[in-house]
Amino acid sequence: MSTELVTMNIGPIHPSTHGVFRMRVTFDGETIIDAEPIIGYLHRGSEKLAEERTYTQVVTLTDRMDYTASMTNNQAYILSVEKLSGITPSERGVWLRMIASELQRIAAHSVAIGFLINDLGAWHTPLLYLLREREKILELFEMMCGARITNSYLRPGGVFMDAPDEFWPSLNRFLDEMPNRLDDIENLLTDNEIILARTQNVAILDKNDAINASITGPMLRASGVDWDLRHRNPYDYYEKISFRRPLGTVGDNNDRYLVRLHEIRESLKIVEQCLDLIEPGPVQPEEVPFLVRPPKGESYVPIEAPKGELGFYLVSDGGISPFRCHVRAPSLINLTLLRDMVIGYKIADLFVTFGSIDVNMGEVDR
């Protein structure tokens, strides 16, 4: 019997490409022989646009890169600007942006897990449970800064406004409820036989391969490498906080799911510690000018975004806008190993693996 390989074009419009990702995949029956990722369908030239805006205006561009994690994008950019211009942030501003970025991590991981399970074929049930929790976080963000997705909350030196009084009881209520909700999710998903059978021992990423390919974030930790920038290279006030770093043991899709789920629990603990340590005060030092004009130089501050190491490399020529802005986007770099991870597995595993990498096309193409 003679058989032929089938080459299929999956995407850019496809239910589970998480945006506009395209793959040219060659199948032998159901088995993947080759997968060629093709990106660039959501390129908006953010880096070039940044060169024509003031340092404060660029914050709004960073919101739109990884639109499931705007707060951490803001944070990475603002830390780089602060290093470039030598601004010392106000204490309350830093605590507020740490709270915001940890809440954002919970929201981003909820989205990642929800869509991963959706790629497995669950009919939206776990996704909607997780999106309901994310909705509460978005409401908290709305209280903080008036926006839900594209927050633009952070400014050089801190944040642009203090959280209102009704924010704190709402946050406490969320912190009380969320562990129970996570228990529900775990009951439904973690020991589910079908999920275990579908995700275990699929698309195993070796520790050394991951390090060599500059993989970062939960994907690297799922392969068993204890590398979390909040712990290894603390920025903001993370050295005053204690938290555990969940690590995977095998490095397959199931580990990537588990690591994210446990990071949500750790993030909740971090927010609680921030709540204990935060004190009243100004949210932005008064000496920060409206137009930041850093001296000539360059800066890069990597942070631990929900998807991995995110950093803005900024070059200043002494003007009011960056001379060059380059983004080290974790989604793009984590995506580079997709081809090697999926070859030899089945069609269905391709989408699960893609979901477990957790990329955001807005950040891949920028």
Partner: protein, 405 residues
Amino acid sequence: MGPVRESFIFEFLYCHLSLEASCSSVRIINIAFIPESLSWISFSLTAFFWIFVFVNAALVGVLALIWGERRLIGKFQARLGPNRWGPLGLFTPVADAIKVMFKEDIEPTLSDKLIYVLAPILMVVPVFMIFPIIPYGAKTFLTNISVGVVFVLAITSINSLSVLMAGWASGNRFAIIGGIRAVAMLLSYEIPMGISAAGVVIVAGSLSLSGVVDSQVIPNAIFQPLGFITFLIASTAELNRSPFDITEAESELVAGYMTDYSSMKFGLFYLGEFMATIASSAIIVTFYFSGWRGPSFIPSEIWFLAKWIGVIAIFIWFRATFPRLRIDQIMSLAWKGLFELSLINVLVLALMIAIWPDPTGMQLLLMTAINWIVFLASVYIFGKILSPNLTGNKIKKRSVIYGLD
């Protein structure tokens, strides 16, 4: 008009048309006008009337199921579900149907036109043929054919042909993968389904559905749990419903075999699938939940309807909770799990019926107990001991470790 006269609803209408002598006792009002010599006319009129009623009832049933499924899944997913059109959103499926009808009908250039048009028709028409033979109540059934069980199994397997035709004729690679998956899966699950049904036939000693209902002093779901579980799983797979919806597999194949279908051709697939769910649920009620039987203070039709809705709700529950299995896992579940389990069930039942051909009350209870022991033991052996070796993927529950400071 021999066997069809067994059916009460058929006879009732027939006797109000025909002047046949034997009819006079059934007649309530004397409006019959067709002479006995022209009884074929009264027969045809009655048949046409009931066909009309059954086809339309099935279509209304589909609308109700679409509403019920969306509403119930809404509750499962902590949201409201459809609630805009009509009370409780009851008219939502009507709005859906109107929308589907007015969509543009697209035929892809690469498609094989004749087969492309035939496939959706073949999906819907066979399912209509199941409804007339199901006994809905003690006297409420249209016809009682003597090979009902075989007929049901034959009719339900036609839709795999339709799926393959649709996948092939679309000229689309997503569709052909969906079609091929469908054939592989549906053919595999035919076998455990047929063998489980054989267990029902052994107990009933009859192939007619009325005979199957009559035989169930203890409902088969309790009497032969192993057969029930295998039949339920196999019919979920036959229906292409979650967790076996690999032929559509939204997150992988967009819409599988119906990717290129639009307008009412897509509507027919949609209709066919929901109608198959209704029909399969009715079959499961007949085979395993003792059909219309129940304490007599409630009419038998109500018993049937209640059980029917219950089984449909089980299918909706599956859909709301389970992720999808992969093709190789589905195939190994069919051939390395369900196939053997259904054989064990038939073997045990055949042995027991050979020992006690006409079981009394105590013997029935004893047989039930033996069946449950066999059920629990074999599910334990296959699920816990053998399954890791069978699927090749040794799964084990694990958790994360934490980085050291």
